[in-house]
Amino acid sequence: MANLNIDSVKERTFDAIVIGSGMSGGWAAKEFTDKGLKTLILERGRDVKHIKDYPTTNMYPWEFEHRGELPMAVQEANPIVNRCYAFGESAAHFFVKDAEHPYIQDKPFDWIRGYQVGGKSLLWARQTQRWSDFDFEGPARDGFAVDWPIRYKDIAPWYSYVEKFAGISGNRDGIAELPDGEFLPAFPLNTVEEYFRDHVKSNYKNRYVISARCAHLSTPNQIHLDQGRVQCQRRTICERGCPFGGYFSANATTIPWALKSGHATLRPFSVVESIIYDEKLGKATGVRVIDTNTKEAIEYYAKVIFVNAAALNTNLILLNSKSHRFPNGLGNDSGVLGKYVAFHNYSAHIGAEYDGAKEWTTDGRNPAGGGYIPRFRNVYKQETDFLRGYASGFGAYRYPQRSWDGVGSSLKDNLANKELGPWHVGSHMMGETIPKESNFVSLDDKQKDAWGVPLLKMNIDYDDNDEKMKKDYVEQLTEMFTSAGFTNIKASTDRRAPGLDIHEMGGARMGNDPKTSILNKWNQVHSVKNVFVTDGASMTSTSCQNPSLTYMAFTARAADYAMSEMKKGNI
């Protein structure tokens, strides 16, 4: 790090700058450096080196002072991030604490962030389903947002490209709405998950229960071994960082790959304040960075800039990149920047029991988490009083039946010796939400953060469509559970704020028309051809599939396009 305070413009000039080192930024860095481009990777947080900086990864349960629980003082000081399921004693060091980077909630929004090299790719739930034309044609068919400027055929080869490198486990299920990919062997369903799969298959048209597809190396290929990763060991303590590289994270995969090329410079502790636009040249020339340790402002220059700061921070950077040409934010001729933000609705769950398969249990732990039910509502045609639909997680588990009564040796025996109770089954909703102009982020005109950057204001909420969809999820899953003979069915809904799904998307959406979108079909800013946005901010709609795999594919595709345009002298 000694050579960071370089003052010559030449030394601060690169072929490409990638803002953000997480899920999508890591891919941009990998693609550029693979082709020999001198690339600067900017990360606002600290460096997290694979294995070396996973302090809890090999700790035993008894080595945690509070056995996984966080002290009350930490919980009380962090009401927002404390609502995230993975914010516990073993992984709290990878989450942004509430006070560290404040924002303004005009409407409640739980903004869960990971400011470090690798970003949230260290912490994600690793579910990786492709999107299909039922998603990319959705806005046009159903009349919301704007038409996606691409179709499945445009992105399909790039899904294959990133899947092979990242390592995705799954079955080729042959479902049109959930296209198959380049899969490593799937993790198996258990006895009761298989029972429900077969029940659904025989009793419902166009409804399926499949093994959840996930970014784990069930059986690695040579390309994964070349990355220094080995087979997933089924520990399922992934949020600590995996010393085996058993799941895809930027830390284990794309970032070290980019650095190994010798063409990348990784600069942590670098908040991007704005992108520099040159009015004469009509393009961006670089970025203005605040060093978080010294508070010094430094400019870096490049031919092409990829913005991968995670959806809402990408919006923040673009909104804060003001110039005479773009007084309302870079590329914001249309006025839609920051608007049409959407997310996933995770606010319903259902649980039940199954009084069968008592002679079966499981052994070990399933990193895929169990089954996945692709969207079955409004797929081929509109059939309900709400738009779009939901995917559902599905899992079956058997717990020891333990009597907690009394004290002494009989209590100890009861608790230690396994007598399994009935199977429990559970599902959670993953609903698509509709991007709307009224769901937006904007900059506060007064309050700034510790680095002089305006605070982001959140105006994002559920709507009537979400409520109707939630009701339908509960009805449909209750009906499917009932017909499968599950008993003691209990649905629960919660009033969680948007954000806790950690799938916020949009604000700098793609579209065919520069009047109603920020990016073209190559994730390229319509009016600033050397700036690309390939993280969640670019999403025109949200699908109901987990989005990370799609960000990866868009990023690799856009990087390829950017490099071909550079070669042609167009940017």
Partner: protein, 188 residues
């Protein structure tokens, strides 16, 4: 002021009414060194024996071998609300008073049979209380003692690896394994 100091000050203000006075009295009676803001070495010894009575050494180690008293001091101090801390610390005193009333001696002086008898009665009391308790009603101190004993023991090294089975790196997942009743349960 850091977070810990802030919480400590809140506790001091709240504790100034009843709990503070009790602390003062017990502090006068005992010269036992403090292990943290809430507990003394004597408390640790008492909680070790309460834990051991709840989960005794059998063919496998008991709660005392898992240093359950020390574990409770950490959890109650760091992870309990101020209200629950008060209930817990007062509970230790109540437990000794109950022993005194029933057997004419403190818990630590009671025989193993007397200890088991007393805690069995307290367990029934907490169970009955918890059954009808409304969410806003205070927790029962013996439920806290029992929960902490179970949590602390089964996540401890002797508890997880000897009383239960623990494998750090399973390496596999089998979704269809024939079930055999009576095996040791898994720690995680």
């Amino acid at each position: 002021m850091n977070r810990r100091e802030a919480i400590g000050r809140v506790g001091l203000i709240l504790g100034g009414t009843i709990i503070g006075a009790e602390f003062f009295i017990s502090g006068c009676k005992s010269s036992s060194p403090k292990v943290n803001d809430l507990f003394t070495q004597d408390d640790v010894a008492l909680m070790d024996e309460i834990g051991e009575t709840i989960l005794p050494a059998t063919s496998t180690p008991g709660a005392k071998a898992a240093e359950i008293g020390k574990f409770m001091t950490v959890m109650v101090q760091d992870c309990y609300t101020a209200d629950d801390q008060k209930i817990f610390t007062k509970g230790l005193k109540d437990l000794n008073d109950a022993s005194d009333k029933k057997y004419g001696k403190k818990f630590l002086e009671a025989t193993p049979e007397q200890r088991t008898e007393l805690l069995t009665a307290l367990d029934k009391e907490q169970k009955d209380y918890t059954k009808t308790k409304k969410p806003e009603d205070p927790n029962h101190y013996f439920r806290m003692l029992k929960e902490l004993t179970l949590l602390g023991f089964f996540t401890s090294k002797p508890g997880a690896t000897q009383a239960l089975r623990y494998i750090a790196v399973p390496g596999k997942y089998d979704g269809n394994l024939p079930y055999k009743k009576g095996d040791k349960a898994w720690a995680t």
